[in-house]
């Protein structure tokens, strides 16, 4: 289960949007404060966030947690549909519903040297530990120039962030997979988050190189806590729920070609 000893009743929080930071036209960072402290999240854990106090949009949207203090959680997102468009336009001070932290994050182990590969918004989970750990090396790939506001913001959060872009406008031309060819021999595992195609490629390349990889998957969700079975993926261990069995799975466990 995903609850880590937390009562399900403690999962839902009414939060206040204490700050909404716009990163250009496309990206935004929400700081959400609760009266009570949140359970401590690990990188890869997420929240279901619901902006509407009415019935439309009906469901919460899953967001990886990218920052946390005692009673504050931060998420970063791109405007991609109706739900995120509404959230991007919310003024500070409004109330939202937040469920979480949910799911199982990356397997944090003190002293383990990790290489993190992010694609686009997949940077979010790696912002959470990176301020506290020197053991992570983070590589972020984006499509191109229009992602500059996000890249600039993430670069301030993660000193030494390695950036790649398909058009070469930002950082190195190419994708973060290039980093696997020059990997520190002391690195013991790869963590990855981003588009499914990229995660599949990373998982396969890590398999060939005999490196353990963990990937954080994204699917549509309704409840975020294992009730609806709407977010199921196929794995070597049978169908698994992205929300409560994941969202982080070992790369070799995922059956990438099963829909």
């Amino acid at each position: 289960m995903c609850l880590h000893g937390i009562s399900p009743r403690m999962l839902d929080h009414e939060v206040i949007l204490s700050d909404s930071l716009k990163l250009g036209e496309k990206f935004f960072v929400l700081s959400l404060e609760s009266e009570k402290p949140f359970p401590k999240a690990t990188p890869g854990q997420f929240v279901m966030l619901r902006a509407s106090q009415g019935l439309d949009p009906l469901l919460g949207r899953p967001f990886a947690i990218c920052g946390q203090e005692r009673n504050r959680i931060e998420v970063v997102a791109a405007v991609s549909g109706r739900g995120t468009r509404i959230m991007a336009s919310l003024p500070a001070g409004v109330r939202l519903s937040l469920r979480g932290p949910l799911g199982n994050g990356f397997p944090v182990s003190p002293g383990l040297r990790i290489q993190c590969l992010a694609g686009g918004m997949g940077i979010a989970p790696f912002l959470l530990p990176c301020t506290a750990s020197k053991e992570l090396e983070v590589h972020l790939g984006v499509p191109g120039q229009e992602w500059k506001p996000l890249v600039d913001w993430a670069s301030r959060k993660i000193p030494g962030l390695h950036v790649y872009s398909e058009d070469g406008y930002l950082g190195t031309r190419g994708t973060p997979l290039l980093s696997l060819g020059k990997m520190d021999p002391l690195c013991e595992a790869v963590w990855a988050c981003g588009p499914t195609g990229m995660l599949k490629a990373i998982s396969e390349e890590c398999g060939e190189r005999n490196i353990r990889s963990w990937v954080s998957l994204e699917t549509r969700m309704a409840c975020g806590m294992g009730g609806c079975h709407g977010c199921v993926i196929q794995t070597r261990n049978g169908p698994r729920k992205t929300c409560s069995d994941g969202p982080v799975f070992e790369g070799k466990e995922v059956l990438w070609n099963a829909s």
Binding site: L58, R220, C228, S259
Partner: protein, 310 residues
């Protein structure tokens, strides 16, 4: 008028429930921590996920699609199979604070008989079986068992022979005439009817220009369908003498009250629970306010009241 303790209680046939609010099938985790107070405050009973004889992997591809005030789903009855449910889940959830309703998906007659035989060995842990007759009758041409009175009657008669405990039959909105199907289920031995299930719909992704779901169609639930479900409850409750449980789009106390005024004895709640874990206690509170304001002593006083005064 101040209400006495237990004012929320209702009785479905011989099954007393502490509130008229039931967790709908397929919406709630089987983890035992979800079947205990205070998580279940306001809940009268909870339905399990649909159970089948063998484990089911569920449907491939996209399973969820949000619509205005609604949700399309195509889960495909994913479950671990009845034996694994009995071994792994049932003893733990039955030890919780709410009554367990085993939802059984009507498959072939042989398979369904075996599921009910397995559950019968554990009857003391179950308040009722809820038979889902929205599933296709594979032996009978693939139409849903609940599509017409004849097939619904056959399904319920078979299950009545195999299960001696309370038998609730969950009807499908995709039927010829809900009154006829409801009457047929009653005559075949149902103890209560759940009216109804999700409404068949579909979605097309305009980016890919293709249907969203691998099976093209999917079930619509959520507040968007409430008026449709309420109409079915009104019609079914007019046709039968056994209790009716409303199901479809209930998200507020007013919806439960409306369902009961239309003739339901209880209401199932599903989709809204995805977004708000406290919705059962919130709805019970509003429901009790209504009883108190209107001067009712018991929830049962509301049942069918909307019909009496017409």
């Amino acid at each position: 008028m101040p209400l006495e303790k237990g004012a929320s209680e209702v009785v479905i046939g011989k099954v007393p429930l502490r509130t008229p609010l039931i967790v709908a099938s397929g919406t709630w985790p089987h983890g035992p921590e979800y079947w205990r107070d205070p998580v279940t405050l306001g809940v009268g009973a909870a339905c399990t996920k649909a159970l089948t004889l063998h484990p089911r992997q569920g449907n491939p591809g996209t399973r969820l699609w949000e619509t205005p005030c609604g949700l399309l789903n195509s889960i495909g009855l994913q479950n671990q199979g009845v034996e694994a449910f009995i071994a792994d889940d049932l003893p733990l959830i039955a030890a919780g604070d709410i009554k367990v309703i085993a939802n059984v998906a009507m498959e072939t007659e042989q398979e369904t008989a075996e599921v009910l035989a397995a559950l019968s060995k554990h009857e003391s842990m179950l308040a009722a079986v809820e038979l889902n007759i929205s599933c296709p009758n594979v032996d009978g041409g693939g139409m849903a068992w609940g599509f017409d009175a004849k097939h619904a009657s056959r399904a319920v008669r078979l299950c009545r022979e195999k299960w001696r405990g309370p038998l609730w039959v969950k009807l499908t909105p995709q039927c010829t005439d809900i009154r006829q199907v409801a009457k047929a289920a009653e005559n075949a031995g149902a103890d209560a009817l759940v009216v109804a299930n999700t409404w068949l719909g579909m979605a097309i992704d305009t980016k890919s220009e293709k249907p969203v779901f691998a099976r093209v169609v999917a079930g619509l639930s959520g507040p968007a369908v409430f008026p449709l479900s309420l109409r079915l409850v009104w019609e079914a409750a007019s046709a039968v003498d056994i209790p009716v449980i409303g199901c479809g789009g209930v998200s507020r106390a007013e919806d439960v009250i409306a369902m009961m005024l239309a003739g339901a004895t209880a209401a199932e709640i599903g989709t809204i629970h995805f977004t708000d874990l406290s919705c059962f206690s919130r709805i019970e509170e509003g429901f009790l306010d209504h009883l108190s304001t209107k001067g009712y002593a018991s929830a049962m006083d509301l049942v069918g009241k909307g019909k009496n005064e017409r």
